[in-house]
Structures are given as C-alpha cells and as structure tokens.
Amino acid sequence: MTSALELSGISKSFDGFRAIAAADLEVRSGEVHALLGENGAGKSSLMNIVAGLYAPDEGSIRVQGRPVRIAGPLDARRLGIGMVHQHYKLVKSFSALENILLANPKGGFARGRAAIDTALARLADRIGFTVDLTKPVGALSIAEQQRVEILKMLVGGARLLILDEPTAVLTDMEAERLLALLRHLASEGAAVILVTHKLGDVMRHADRLTVMRNGKTIATASPGTLNAGELTKLVVGTTTTECAVPAQNVGGPVLSLTGVSSGGNGRRETLSDVTMRICSGEIYGLAGVGGNGQTELAEILMGVVTTASGRITLEDAVDITDATPKTRRARGLAVIPADRHSYGLAGELSIADNYAIGDVYSGKYGGVLRMKSSAAQTAAGAAVAAHDVQGVRSLAHKAALLSGGNAQKLVIAREFAGAPRVILAHSPSRGLDVRAAAAVHARLRAARDGGAGILLISEDLDEILLLADRIGVMSSGRLVAEFAAPADRQAVGEAMVSHG
C-alpha cells in the first residue's frame, strides 16, 4: 500500500519554544489515522505544517511517495491536502456556495458556481448529505458548518483529509455520523487524519494511530493491539487515576444563599428560591444538565448579575447580596469562571499583567499613577513556577497563547493567591486533558483542606462524584435534591432529569 503522506524529522519552533521536535508520521491511503495527544502536544502545529500554514524548520515531507515543499495553503491544495481546522475557516456572512467557491476558484465566478453545483450534486449521491447552499454560513449549526468545511475540501479534490478535533463541538449523534462518513471516505481510497484527544473515538473508528507527546511522535500502533489503559499511558506518559478523598475538617458556613431568585424587570426568572449553605473545609458539588440555572447562579455569585430577591451572606453573616465584584473579592470570594477566555483572562494582555490584576488594589504593584511592573513580574514568575504553568515562553507573552490547561492553571494561581475563604469553581476542567484536570482537582482539594468552602458547578457528573463532599442537583432553576458523599450515581442522575 502506498503512503499518502510521510513526514520525517519535522521540527518547528515558535519564538525559541520548540513546539515540534523531530516528529515522524506515515499515513496510508484508505485508512483513518488518528493523531492522539494532550493539549499542547503539538498535534495542531504539525498538521498546520502539512496544510501549508506554517513552514517547518527542519524535516522532509513526501506526498504519494514524492518529496514536496509546501509553501502555502495553495500548494497544499494542489497536492490534494485539505484540512478542517478546529476553528472553521469560513466567512460567516457568505453562503456555503460562496465559501466553497472562495477555496476552489476554478473557471471564474459564474462558471465556478455552476461547476461547484454539479460537483456537490455528485458528492451528495456519494456521501449521502448536502447543506443549504444559500443561507449565510453563520446562520447554520456548528455541525452543518463542519459539513461545509468537509464539502469545501472534497470539491477541491482532497485525497488527504485532516480534521482537527472534529468531534469536540458535536453532539454524540452528530459525532457518530461524522465518523461514519470519514470511514466511508477512507473506504473509497482517501487518507483521513483524525486529530483528537478522545480515546473512545480512536478505539472504535481508527485503523491506526500515532501518539504525540511534548512535540514528539511517541509511537504508532493499531487500536486493536492496545487497551484503553495502555493507550492512556502512551498519551499521558504515566497512568494517573484519581480517587476521592473525603473532607476532614468541615467547619461553619462560609457562604449562605437564602431564597435567591433571579429575573425581575421583565426578565425571565431562571433561578427560583435557591437556598443552600456551603461550609468551610468542604466541596459542595452542584450537578445538573446544562442550562438549568447554573450559569445564572454563578453570575449572581460573581456579582455581575443582580438578584431579584433573597439574601447572600458570607462568614459571620456578612451580607454581600448587593455588593460589587470588587467588595466580594476583598471579602475572600475567588472565582474560576467557566469561560476562562472571556471572564478569566484578558487574552491580549501579558501573563504577568493577567496575574497581577487580581491584586491591583492592594498597592503591591504600585498606585494609581505608577505601576511597579517589576513587582508584578516577580510575583507572576513565582506563581507560574509554583503552579506549574507550562508553555510560558516569557511573562510578557500574551495570555491567549497559553493552551487550555495552562490558562486554567494561571487563573487558579491568581485566584488562590489571596488564600480565599470561598471559591466558586464553574466547570473548572472543561476542555482540559486528563493530566491538567487532575492538577486542577488537586488544587481544589488542597484549598478545601486549607479551610476554604468550595462551590463546584459542573455538568460532568464524574467530576462531581469524584470531588464533592455534598452534592446538590439543579433543575429548572431550583435546587431539587441534595446528597451526601458517597452518593449513588443513579440517584443523582435521576434527580437531574426528573424535574425537567
């Protein structure tokens, strides 16, 4: 069988940071080849080299056995390489047809459109789906946008399809359909590279897999020869299994909500009459299907949304119902927001600034008129080291360049710096790989054992069962059930859906 793609000894550095170190990869025609690895292992960077977006520093590329140089996206397309990026490269205001035409401009505007129309009709027969060609792409669902991307590549005659984390944004059913489609394309002779960190997808749908770790390709194998445990070990390096550690010293309440409701002023009531108590030294896990009021509760506690009725108090009955976020922070409330890129970090600011902003009112980093950037640098440097934030090339670097797990570690480093009494952690491990999630969990447990009260809001029931000492279940904006750990998974799950 011929190799559709052969990479050998590929290296790439960004600003002195070695993202890919002598990576090798061989993909055959007619197979679905999975590229596995943790966040920041270099999978996307390696694939961007194949797609012509980055130029490699070293190494050679062969396509169908011939050595090639891929200088840009156009070269890649000419070689039959098509990549569906994690963030779709679509113009939202254009229709699907216009987007496909933009990437496949053969024969001018009018003839190009006609050619694409016929090509799509043929494709629809072959792969069994099509998309609305006239609507603006921005109005289509995420799964439909992905289909536009795939069609774009197929119309261009791609023989090597690369998909970067394609199932991350899809529902289970959509993901199954996509993976079936990829299998079908491979059976017709195309080569498919599936970049992912979902082991389940790989075990069921890949013919072979290559594992990347720290920018290197570690191993190539077929899924049949490995079990899930061995695969995890390859990806992570060591096997880590977390187990529950119950709380030791539960103290008095540090956060109390009494009859809290949201809405009012003509807005929909999304929280109704929530009463709960979180004590020092415990993790209170709030479970529930997404969109049942958890986000509103988090926003109310952060102080960005006001309550319609009810009272929120901290330790010693300090009322913070109407307090500003600044006062809440000063009273010992720390927040790990769900959307770390919008609420947790200012992506355009440096890592040092992002760290220092948590404590600017203390005067530690200078006053209103003068900023002591050296103090901020020193403090941030120490925190980055203490919290093991990886991938920091310089403290002056933009925070947006950190990978998900490391960005979260930075948020935690900042939020935990003031030894908070109450911690609101909203989906703290969303989008993180196993190791980064374990690190986040360890930090939460350490804070709990240090005497803080933690409210953990998560849609991931496994995470709740693993961490929480008490569990509350939210449904339709109400707290419908409470359980003490160890809780019965079945019972919690039933409470989550019963009141819907």
Partner: protein, 311 residues
C-alpha cells in the same frame, strides 16, 4: 419657485459627485478590512495635484484628473505600507495621513505658486438626444465627463463586488482574513490593492473639486468633505448604492446652502453644514436601537492580519 428648485437640482450633481466618489473609495478600501480615516488628506492630494498638473502641463483636464488619481495612489503607498506590512494601528496611521497631506499640499502649492490660480475646468457634455428630455435632460444628460464616469464606476464596482472572484476575495479578506488565507488568498496583496484603488478614487473626488467645480486650488479646499464621506459610509452601512443615495442627499443639502442665503432666508449656514453629521448620528442611533448586529461593517475592519500563532 419651480425655477428655484430646478436651478438648485441642476447644480446638485456637481456637489454630489465628490461625496459619491470618496465614499466609494472608502468602501473599496474598507471592504478589505483596512480602516481608512485618511480620506480628507487624499482628497487634498488629488485636488492639489489636479490643479498643479493643469497649470504646469496644460492639456486636457481629464489628463489632470488621471494624474491626481495616480498621485493619491502613490501617497497611499505610505499608508498601505504602515498598516499592511508594519501593522501599525490603523486609526493612528489614518489620522497621521490627514495631517501629513494637509501640510504637504500647502507646502508644495505655495512653493510652486499654484494657490489661487484660476484654471480651465471641465465642460459639460450633452448626451444628445437624451439631453433634450424636459427637466431630466438638463439634470442627468448635460453634465461633465466625471459625472458619467462616476455612474459607470459604481456599476462596475457593483459587478465586481457581486459577480466576480475578485470581489468575493476582497470581501473575504475583510470579513475573515484567516479563512481567506487558508483558501490561498494573499491578504496583504488584496489589502494593498484595495487601499491603492480606494485612494485613487478619493483622489479623483478631490481633483473634481479643484478641476471640475471650483476651477481653482486653495489650501484645505476639501473642507471636511473627506470626513463627511466617512460618515456617509457608516450611514450607508458599506453598501455602494446607499452611499450613492446618501451622496446625492448630502450634495443637494450643500447646493442648497448658498441658494438659501441668496434668497434672503435666514438660516445659519453652520446649521446646514452640520446636517450631514446629524443624519449620520441619527442612523447610528437608529441602528443601535434596533439592536441589529448587521451594521454592514466588515467583520475584520481595523484588525491587522497575522497568521495565527500557536493557540
């Protein structure tokens, strides 16, 4: 009264043309995602070069207009280099260009003695037999060459924008440069080209002021029309035909000002000069109240393009 209105409307196109051309130039440049605040400056460059070319070289006035377009495009190379290659802040670069051009045109025209020298201008061309139509004939078919050219340019831009790969790529670069880049479109090349073409159109608008209408060059004669054109583009939500309609409206208002004064009606002229901005503000407030996300603004307007580094 009918005479008053007819006389007013007949001169209005001459006032509308500079607005229309400048607004279209801005739309061309901004469709590529480059925020173009230097319109006032490039109008001055066009106006001065047009007059200067006519004084020094003579020849047909249309030749002078061509020279003016080239000059504006040439000066815009500086702006394009700043924002596309060096990725300087586009607001600052645009404003700097205005002040640079103001100084430069005053300096050169004083040195060369071009200021306040009357020049021969454009003559109206009657498109017979259409020019014999009652009222409409005088209004639309007895104008100068630039008036007809303006309409042709708008039609051409409409065609390019909606019916060609060139237009599709231009819009893609302004809406989502990442997507355009991945599709193999050179973002830098398209932005460079759009800035140059836009500046040339704005230069033509300026040259029309000196060569076509006033038949003289005086310092700062663009008189804020470049700024009005920027307002007009927002007003038109980056749609060329709406911009043309807006230009006609603003042109009519401008043509009305001296006539009202001449007729002895007491309206403060500054109030009239203010109206285009009031209209723009009103449109922006209206759009904001509608809470419609579609202001028509290219999504990547004002953002420099860097091929994404590792995220």
């Amino acid at each position: 009264m009918a005479d008053f209105i007819l006389n007013w409307l007949v001169v209005s196109p001459a006032f509308a043309v500079p607005f229309a051309l400048a607004a279209l130039g801005l739309i061309v440049a901004e469709k590529s995602g480059v925020l173009f605040l230097g319109a006032e400056g490039f109008m001055l460059v066009g106006a001065m070069t047009g007059a200067g070319a006519l004084i020094t070289m003579g020849g047909h006035p249309l030749l002078a207009l061509l020279v003016a377009m080239l000059a504006a495009a040439l000066v815009s190379l500086i702006f394009a280099f700043l924002v596309v290659v060096l990725r300087v802040d586009q607001i600052i670069a645009g404003l700097s260009m205005v002040f640079l051009c103001q100084g430069l045109t005053s300096l050169i025209s004083t040195q060369q003695g071009w200021t306040n020298r009357p020049i021969s201008g454009l003559d109206p061309i009657a498109l017979w037999p259409l020019s014999e139509l009652p009222i409409l004939g005088r209004l639309l078919f007895h104008q100068d060459a630039v008036f007809y050219a303006t309409i042709a340019i708008f039609v051409a831009f409409h065609w390019i924008s909606n019916r060609s790969l060139l237009g599709l790529r231009l819009k893609a670069v302004g809406e989502n440069p990442d997507a355009a880049d991945a599709a193999g479109v050179s973002v830098a090349l398209y932005r460079f080209g759009a800035v140059l073409c836009g500046a040339a159109l704005i230069g033509l608008a300026g040259a029309y002021l000196s060569v076509g209408v006033a038949k003289i060059w005086v310092d700062g004669m663009a008189g804020g029309r470049g700024w009005i054109a920027i307002a007009l583009v927002i007003f038109a939500r980056w749609q060329p035909w709406r911009a043309l309609a807006g230009a006609v409206l603003f042109g009519c208002i401008e043509a009305l000002i001296p006539r009202i004064a001449a007729a002895g009606i007491q309206v403060p002229q500054y109030f009239m000069l203010m109206t285009p901005y009031v209209a723009t503000l009103a449109v922006m407030i209206w759009a904001a109240l509608l809470r419609s996300p579609r202001t028509g603004q290219p999504a990547a307007l004002g953002t420099p393009f860097v091929r994404e580094e590792r995220r």
